[in-house]
Assembly symmetry: C2
DNA sequence: AAACAAAGTAGGCAGTGGCAACAAAGATGT
DNA sequence: ACATCTTTGTTGCCACTGCCTACTTTGTTT
């Protein structure tokens, strides 16, 4: 059991973030309330302010850790995917879409520019999974599967495709049953579309 | 000049929607306030309720008309694009991304499932631009540019790619200057990826 | 002309985020 | 060891929001 210090909570910030993550999953960012989180943490309504100047700051922090987790999950998927480019790409796509559909509200928070101007930290956090895609493509080029050239554009297009698929599914515009087939098609098309001619 | 009837406003619904569109453009859905719109329309704070039972209902209506306008703009772009498949696809993509980047908050509203359960109208409205993509692909197949087969999957992937690009740009994760080049790459990749072998 | 439906008004309610002023607990310097 | 300073809480307030109910005005129907 966790002992609960009377006044100084000790890890309020972490507690709030955890509660926020749950709330986000359950009800979406829209309904997330600082006062609610405070109540859940057994703390006064103004306490969160010491750790997050702003509601938005809390949301930004969530998004940031989201990117970190996304990156982590993508790398884990890659680690199990062998050497060959095709399967590696496929594994990445599947992992991305699992993350994106299981945590749709978080995804929304991460990509939708709810983040205000000075969200450098967020953009920096986003750079990691981006770099991963980038590296994946370089690998495809090195293996001679993809045509050589600047991997950036292709990487962005790939990332965008996955992100777009997630949006359509999460938005209820595409039935989840179709997801696997669509991922298949997307990966296949991507490879054919940039393969060495 | 529009005469302003004293009590019965006559077109409050339309007035509110127009104001809402402006507000959405300027500040995003988050900050849109019914009471604000009412004030702007010179009407009491409870008046909007007669036309939209709910804040969400207003947002849904905005999204719905967004889909209609998107469809309209895509069709307009297609009408000017000649017969050949490549240029037609390109024109569609450009038109989509113009819409998506110029009205990013609206786009977010349209695709992000802020819409609640019974948003059949919305899904129906979304079906139109979807159908357009679908038709475009069928045409590509008919012209022998694309491989034959179920156009649905490819259509979804195409739509998703455009949508994803919009999300990345709108979210500030990809610099707007890159947009044109990315669209080029995406279109090119798509054609190569599903071209008749 | 009476009855009715539609569209607007007034006011109240609970809830929110943000702010300021104050209090407790811990850390720090002498 | 003690006084001081900083951090992290607390209480109470404000303006604002969406939603609800009850009432009023207008326009339409019979």
């Amino acid at each position: 059991m966790t002992s609960v210090p009377a006044y100084h909570h000790g890890n309020l910030r972490a507690t709030l973030l955890a509660a926020a993550e749950r709330s986000l999953r359950r009800d979406g960012a829209e309904r997330l309330s600082l006062r609610d989180l405070a109540r859940e943490a057994g703390v006064s309504h103004a306490a969160p302010r010491r750790h997050f100047p702003d509601r938005q700051a809390l949301l930004d922090a969530l998004a940031e850790s989201g990117f970190a987790r996304l990156d982590q999950e993508l790398r884990a998927a890659l680690a199990e995917a062998g050497e060959e480019f095709g399967p590696r790409l496929h594994a990445t796509a599947v992992a991305y879409l699992r993350f994106a559909t299981e945590d749709s509200a978080l995804l929304e928070l991460m990509f939708t520019r709810k983040h205000r101007e000075g969200a450098d930290r967020l953009v920096a956090a986003a750079a990691e999974p981006f770099g991963l895609m980038h590296g994946l493509i370089e690998q495809g080029q090195a293996q001679g599967v993809l045509e050589p050239g600047d991997p950036q554009r292709a990487g962005i297009v790939l990332f965008a495709t996955l992100q777009g698929i997630a949006t359509l599914v999460n938005g209820g515009l595409v039935a989840p049953e179709l997801l696997d087939g669509i991922v298949e098609t997307a990966v296949d098309q991507f490879i054919r579309g940039s393969r060495r001619r």
